[in-house]
Structures are given as structure tokens and as C-alpha cells.
């Protein structure tokens, strides 16, 4: 009997120990001096979750404000509602999809055309004689926390009637474009309902729209105009005492859109079939002065940035000129069109403007004691050094880098998670909160077929 007792005691002891698992005390979380009861996200495509050249459900679900809001919920944050596309129209505007690689290893992209949320294309008059085509999307009705509108600028955020010019904004509004009932300026629309916390990532398109079009078709927002409007926007957002975080604008040359196709690679490609060619030509801006409109043909250099959408097949195709048929891009009579190149002077000009915008953003934020997420420095650091997280090496490379989606401008879910963590860091620093970060490895990068 005694034997049995000893065995029982020992067995019980063993069973007791084996049942316990190691416990970790995760750090206590707190909202600090901020109140995340109703968080609203103000901004453009980056805020909406735009990716792969389109806005679609998966991208929306992985938008950085959505990621931040989920984390805020651990410190008392409220519900975060996004103007999501429905499952049935989950491909939203349509987007780019990688379908493979050609024999030279270059990506082949296709556009997703099913399950779209496109309502139609309407012609909206901009003045007595001109009109623009606006693509409209299935209307969204319901609460909104993420107000991200692809394409919006700081300047257009103040534009009454902008709802008639941007289908993404129009879908949040009650009226059908073109309609007088869509006259609410974006900045008034987002501030109509009370909120306790905001993120503001407006301003990118004030520089980016100019840059992505190679300096054609759009202009950089005037520095003083930017400063005036940014002050007004922040005054409006903080008017009822809400706290918030603002982000600086990235250097345009930090994104793969301007780095994936390089002049050197183009020349090398041409030389494979035409070894005698030593230069490519471009119609470039003659000075970095914003007021100058002089363009002249010169040789393309490695200080010029090709846009990602440059149709490389066009190089060398014959173009009719007064001097006969000449190969496109290979002679000074047939230069590469300005729209495909952000030339050296345009780069310098854009960078100068972005720096000025960022100075404004930081100054205004400091005056209102807002958190600043310095995306400009963060992206430049990634461009230079890359970033290793959770055993993944991320960088600014196109497709391979892991951060940027197929459009070379917007982010992958993994990229948005990285950015969300940067925002969280900035918020925690400013407000003494301890919003937990997300694990970057839980978000995907580019999908390969």
C-alpha cells in the first residue's frame, strides 16, 4: 500500500508539472494621453489601401489605417469602418496582376477585369467648353472612418464640387456626378462627424502627380499655397480638440516607379541588337526653375528617371520625321517623349518642392503638438539600406523588394504593415501610448503566379 502511495504522489507531481506551459507577461498596453474612440483617416490612395494600380477589397482590408485601427482597439480604440467594396465586386476598380515573366525575365502584367465595382463613365464639364471623363463606382452608404480618396491632393481637398471630378470621392457622397449636391469639399466632409483622433496623409499627389507623368499634364502645387492649405487643414482637424498623426511626403525617387526602368538598362537593351548606338535622346526641361517652360533635346543620362510605364518596345521603332524615318529615342530628331522621363531638372524641382512641403508639415505639426510619421526619411533609408524584419529582407526594388506593389508607387499589404508600424511608433512617441505593433511577416508581399 505504501508503494502505491509513493507512486501515486510521484505520478500526480509529474502530471501537475506537465500541464503547465510557459507563460509570458506581455507588456501592458495603454492609450497614453490620446483618445482613439473615433479614429478617422484622411488622405489619398495610400490611405485608402490602393495597390497594384487599383483600389480593391483586399487592398482596402490591408490599408495602413485599418491595421493601425485594429491595433488601437487593444488600447480602447473604437470600431473602424471602411468604405469597402462588396465581395461580389471585390476587384473594385480593377488592378494589375502578375501573370509571369518573359524570356528576358521582365514581368508580364495583366489587368483584372471581373468582379468590378465600376458604375459607369460620366462626362463632367469643367468649364463652358471642356469636360473630363470620370469613372464612377458603386456607391457606398454607411459609416466611414477611412476617408482615403485615391488621386486627391491637398489643393483638391478644399475644392467644392470635387465630388464630381473624382469617382472614389463621389462614391462616398449621396449625389450622382455631375450633380450640385456633390459640392461638399473633402475637408468639410471628413470633419462633419465628431472624431477623437486622425491621421493625415494628404499632400503626396501635390508632387507625385506631376512626377509620375514625367512632368507633363500636371503641375507641382505652389509652396505657399501648400503651406496655407496645410495650416487650414490641420486647423480644421484639430478644431474640436482631436489629436492626430501626420505623415511627411516621400521623395519621388525613393519609389520603384522611377527606379525599375533605368536609362543604362534601356541603352544596354538597344545595344543588344544595335551595338553602334551609344546614346538615347530625350526632350528634357532646360532648367530647374519652376517658371521656365523651355525644353530641349539632349542625351539621356543616368540622372534622368524613366517612368515604370515606359513602353520599352517603342524604342527603335521608326518615326516619320522631316529627315526621313528614324528610330524612336535613338536620334536627336526622335527623342523619347517628355512624359516618359522625369528628367534631371524635373527631379531637382520636385525634390525641392517635396522638401518645402515637408518643412511645412513638420512645422504645423509641431505647433499643434501632433505626432509626425516621417515617411520621407523612412523611405529614403529603405532605398539606401533596405530593412530586415522577422527574417525578411525588404527594399525599394520593384516586385522583388517586397514593399511596393505592381504599380511601383503603392504598397503591398506587407509594405502597408511596415508603414502602419511607423505610424504606431510615431503615435506612441508623441502621446506616451503603447499601441502594439503588428508582425510584418503576417502580411503578404507581391503575389506570383
Amino acid at each position: 500500500m505504501n508503494k502505491l502511495k509513493h507512486i501515486l504522489i510521484l505520478t500526480a507531481g509529474i502530471a501537475g508539472l506537465a500541464a503547465c506551459k510557459p507563460e509570458i507577461k506581455t507588456p501592458a498596453v495603454s492609450r497614453g494621453s490620446a483618445d482613439f474612440t473615433r479614429y478617422i483617416a484622411v488622405g489619398n490612395s495610400l490611405t485608402s489601401g490602393y495597390a497594384d494600380g487599383g483600389l480593391y477589397l483586399e487592398g482596402q482590408l490591408n490599408s495602413f489605417p485599418s491595421i493601425i485601427a485594429q491595433q488601437m482597439q487593444q488600447v480602447g480604440g473604437g470600431a473602424f469602418v471602411q468604405p469597402l467594396f462588396t465581395e461580389g465586386q471585390s476587384n473594385g476598380s480593377g488592378y494589375l496582376k502578375l501573370t509571369g515573366f518573359n524570356s528576358s525575365g521582365l514581368p508580364i502584367l495583366d489587368t483584372v477585369k471581373d468582379k468590378l465595382a465600376i458604375r459607369g463613365i460620366v462626362s463632367v464639364p469643367t468649364n463652358a467648353t471642356t469636360a473630363i471623363k470620370v469613372t464612377t463606382y458603386t456607391k457606398y452608404t454607411g459609416d466611414i472612418n477611412n476617408y482615403g480618396v485615391p488621386g486627391i491632393k491637398l489643393t483638391t481637398a478644399f475644392l467644392a464640387g470635387y465630388g464630381n471630378l473624382n469617382g472614389y470621392y463621389e462614391r462616398m457622397l449621396p449625389g450622382e456626378a455631375p450633380s450640385a449636391s456633390n459640392s461638399t469639399a473633402y475637408i468639410d466632409f471628413v470633419t462633419a462627424k465628431p472624431f477623437t483622433f486622425f491621421s493625415n496623409f494628404l499632400g503626396n499627389n501635390d508632387a507625385l502627380s506631376y512626377a509620375t507623368n514625367g512632368g507633363v499634364g500636371d503641375v507641382l502645387t505652389d509652396k505657399n499655397t501648400f503651406a496655407t492649405l496645410y495650416n487650414q487643414a490641420i486647423a480644421k482637424l484639430t478644431a474640436t480638440g482631436a489629436k492626430g498623426v501626420v505623415a511627411t511626403i516621400p521623395d519621388v525617387t525613393a519609389i520603384p516607379y522611377f527606379n525599375a526602368v533605368t536609362p543604362a538598362a534601356l541603352l544596354a537593351g538597344v545595344q543588344k541588337s544595335a551595338p553602334t548606338v551609344t546614346s538615347l535622346f530625350v526632350n528634357a526641361k532646360s532648367s530647374a526653375d519652376a517658371t521656365s517652360t523651355t525644353y530641349a533635346v539632349r542625351e539621356l543620362t543616368n540622372s534622368d528617371y524613366m517612368v515604370l510605364t515606359f513602353p520599352t518596345a517603342k524604342l527603335g521603332t521608326l518615326v516619320s520625321t522631316p529627315y526621313g524615318n528614324l528610330p524612336y529615342g535613338l536620334t536627336k530628331y526622335t527623342p523619347i517623349d517628355n512624359q516618359y522621363v522625369l528628367d534631371q531638372n524635373e527631379v531637382a524641382m520636385t525634390q525641392d518642392y517635396v522638401n518645402a512641403y515637408n518643412t511645412t508639415i513638420k512645422t504645423v505639426a509641431a505647433s499643434k503638438s501632433l505626432a509626425v510619421c516621417d515617411i520621407y526619411s523612412f523611405f529614403n533609408s529603405i532605398k539606401k539600406n533596405g530593412l530586415t524584419e522577422d527574417g525578411i529582407f525588404l527594399n525599394a526594388g520593384y516586385i522583388t523588394g517586397g514593399l511596393f506593389s505592381l504599380d511601383g508607387v503603392h504598397l503591398t499589404p506587407r509594405g502597408y504593415a511596415v508603414v502602419a508600424n511607423e505610424f504606431i511608433k510615431a503615435i506612441n512617441t508623441q502621446y506616451g501610448s503603447t499601441i502594439p505593433k503588428v508582425s510584418v511577416s503576417q502580411y503578404r508581399a507581391v503575389k506570383f503566379p
Binding site: 507512486i7 510521484l10 506581455t26 524584419e389 527574417g391 511577416s441 503566379p449
Partner: protein, 410 residues
């Protein structure tokens, strides 16, 4: 009861040992006593603990045992509230020994088959560090023929040759998502072998005291043609040529141990061991692929382990309630960590650790012993950022190891 308390009390000041991926589970009687045994003559496990002591065994032995091991680890990423735990998988270290020598002869021969290094860690495919490691199953099985010779009644020596069979199976996610957003995966599996040796001296200068010194050499285990299987999106298949093989070489470190046995009376055996493990030989974990591409490069992961020590103590008491068929044992120990700051990985979330053991021996028949052991090992929590992967967080682990063996002696 007073004696039982005394036993526990005595065991506590000594503390214990297993670090890195060393597994000190080589004999159930010895585990019960906190892994002591270098300075004792207990049973056939002397082949492992001290080949020099084998010739001192009063009998011949055939014995086998196993210690199913449950390694439970938790990870909390820095700045997050996420917790990830290893799956409940049971590793099966085992030991088997045969010792033979004529009664009158001063020599004995022995054979040991045991598993001194290994690891079974399975974090799954959805945790934060999946690109560093999903799972690792590492086993090394040592085969050790041994010869031991009793020079005098108080001095014996012995040595053995070691053949190691090493088996590795490692999985990690590759950050290349397919059309469904699923990760790619690398699976490296293979087996290889290595050679080494053991030697020991056993001394019994006094009736109540024995001393042992043993040395187990480094065994470099080389896997020359392991299978490297990559599951990745089809458009990238050319970047990860299949079939492919890998070459890897893992040094299993030398261990030097000193042990003492003290016998105050017929009922008690008290033992203490100290080991020095030459972990500094483990500089890096490298995989050299037979077919490389611009994307698939050979890997070089620095480990830079440092030498480690473990201190252990234990005791055995025979004759509870005058039932001499029973023996109870207890022990414990402390081990320093081999992985240095900045080099801790999820394969081996190494940390300083202490352990407590208990054991029960039963003489089922005059020639047959059944031994049970139980070990609880606690690894101190360790907050680390790995320098290579930047995986940052806190690891905490517990290990539970019940064990059983049968020993036939004549």
C-alpha cells in the same frame, strides 16, 4: 519524511544542465539524480558517463530506456501582444547499453547507443518568425563501442570510439507568395555521419568516495547530400532548381566532465558533476546548395556559440520502509547558455536554465531493474533581437521529460 526533506534540501544547492541542443538524457538512474554519473558506477550507462568506470561494474548489463521529451516554448514579439507557442510534439531521446566481461577478468567491453544532441521544435507556418524557422527536427545517434580496464581495485580507465548518425529536417517559409497569397517553403532534410571518441578515468581512493573524469570529443557531422526541396510559385521555379541537394556540417561539441560520488552509509549515494562544453566550435550554420541561382544563394548564419558549463547534483536513497527493492532519487542543476546575445534563434531558444529531477528505481526481480525518472527544466526568459534576422522578442521555455528504462544484469 525527514529523510526525504533532507534529500530535497541537499539537492537544491547544486544546480544543473543541458544547453544549446545538447540533450543530457543518457540513463534513467542518472537523470533521477540530476544527470550525475561521471563519478559513479551505477549501471551500463557508465559507457556514456565515464568509460573508465565500466570495468568497475560488478555485473554485466543489458539495458534500454527512453525519455520522451516535451519542449514547450512561447514567443512574444517586441512591441506586440502576439504570443506564439511551439506545437506539442514529443521528441524521443533513447539510450541502450550492453556491458560484458568475465567475472574474474579486469576488463569489460561495452556498447552504447544514445542520443546526446537533438531538438524538436515546431513553431508552425503562421508565426512571426516563420521565415527564420517553421520547424526543426534534429537527431544525432551515437554508437559507441567501448573497452574498459581495471588497473587496480581503486583505478580503472576506458575509452570508446564514436560513430554518429545525424538526421536533420528543417522547414522555413520563403517570402514569395503564390496567387493565393500562400508562402513558399524550403524543406531541408538529410542524414550524415561523423566520428569521435570518448575516454575516462575512474578512481575510488576511499570506501566512501569515488571520482571520475571523462571526455567526449567533438563530433563533426557532415550531411553531404541532403534534399533541398523548395515549394514556390511556378513562375519562379527556374530560380529554385529541382532536384537540388545541400551540404551542411554541424560540429557537436566536446564535453569534459568531472564527477564525485560520496557514500555516507549503505542507503545513501550523493553525487556531483561539473561539465564544460566546448560550444565555441559552433560558429555558424551553413547550407551549401549544389545548384545555385541568382536568387538561391548558399546561406551562412552566424551562431558564434560560447563555451558553457553545467553544475549538477543529486542523491539516491535505497531502502524506504526497509523495502530494499526501492530506490528514490532526486537532483538538479544549472547550465549557462551557449547562445550569446544577438544569436538566439527559434531553432534553439537557448537560455540559462535550471532543472529539477526525481527518480524511482524498482528491483522487479533479482536481475531486473525498472527505473523511472522525471525532469522539469526551466529556461529563463530571454528578450533578444537576432542580429541576422532582426526577429525581436522574448522567448520562454519549459521542458518536461518523463523517462523509463529496463536493465537486465547478471
Amino acid at each position: 519524511m525527514r529523510k526525504l526533506l533532507l534529500l530535497l534540501f541537499m539537492a537544491s544547492p547544486f544546480m544543473v544542465s543541458a544547453q544549446g541542443f545538447q540533450v543530457n538524457l543518457a540513463g534513467q538512474k542518472q537523470i533521477g539524480m540530476g544527470h550525475t554519473g561521471t563519478g559513479l558506477v551505477q549501471d551500463g550507462a557508465a559507457v556514456f558517463f565515464n568509460p573508465g568506470a565500466v570495468a568497475m561494474l560488478p555485473q554485466n548489463y543489458v539495458q534500454a530506456g527512453t525519455s520522451p521529451l516535451l519542449f514547450k516554448s512561447v514567443f512574444n514579439g517586441t512591441g506586440t501582444t502576439n504570443e506564439y507557442r511551439t506545437a506539442n510534439k514529443i521528441a524521443t531521446p533513447f539510450e541502450g547499453y550492453a556491458v560484458y566481461g568475465p567475472k574474474s577478468a579486469p576488463w569489460k567491453v561495452g556498447l552504447g547507443v544514445y542520443t546526446p544532441f537533438g531538438g524538436l521544435t515546431d513553431w508552425g507556418s503562421n508565426w512571426q518568425g516563420k521565415y527564420v524557422l517553421e520547424s526543426l527536427n534534429l537527431k544525432s545517434i551515437y554508437f559507441q563501442p567501448t573497452l574498459s580496464y581495471k588497473i587496480t581495485n581503486y583505478l580503472s580507465i576506458g575509452a570508446g570510439f564514436v560513430y554518429d548518425r545525424g538526421i536533420v529536417d528543417l522547414k522555413r517559409a520563403i517570402p514569395l507568395a503564390d496567387a493565393n497569397g500562400q508562402d513558399g517553403q524550403a524543406k531541408l532534410s538529410g542524414s550524415g555521419h561523423g566520428y569521435g571518441w570518448n575516454a575516462g578515468i575512474f578512481l575510488k581512493p576511499l570506501e566512501k568516495l569515488s571520482i571520475g573524469v571523462s571526455y567526449r570529443s567533438k563530433v563533426t557531422t557532415t550531411i553531404s547530400k541532403g534534399d533541398a526541396i523548395f515549394t514556390i510559385p511556378s513562375s519562379l521555379q527556374a530560380m529554385f532548381p529541382q532536384p537540388n541537394t545541400f551540404y551542411a556540417s554541424i560540429p557537436l561539441p566536446a564535453t569534459t566532465s568531472v564527477g564525485l560520488g560520496y557514500y555516507p552509509n549503505k542507503q545513501w549515494t550523493i553525487a556531483a558533476d561539473a561539465s564544460f562544453v566546448n560550444w565555441s566550435v559552433y560558429k555558424s550554420l551553413d547550407f551549401d546548395y549544389a545548384n545555385n541561382t541568382s536568387v538561391l544563394a548558399d546561406t551562412h548564419s552566424p551562431r558564434d556559440y560560447k563555451n558553457a558549463v553545467s553544475l549538477r547534483g543529486g542523491a539516491e536513497y535505497k531502502g524506504i520502509n526497509n523495502l530494499s527493492k526501492w530506490a528514490i532519487r532526486a537532483g538538479g542543476g544549472y547550465t549557462s547558455a551557449a547562445a550569446q546575445a544577438g544569436y538566439v534563434t527559434p531553432e534553439v531558444p537557448d537560455a540559462k536554465r535550471y532543472y529539477l529531477t526525481a527518480g524511482l528505481g524498482y528491483k522487479a526481480a533479482s536481475h531486473l531493474d525498472i527505473d523511472f525518472s522525471f525532469e522539469y527544466e526551466h529556461l529563463f526568459s530571454r528578450t533578444q533581437t537576432n542580429m541576422e534576422s532582426n526577429l525581436s522578442g522574448t522567448f520562454k521555455s519549459n521542458v518536461y521529460i518523463p523517462g523509463i528504462s529496463l536493465a537486465y544484469h547478471w
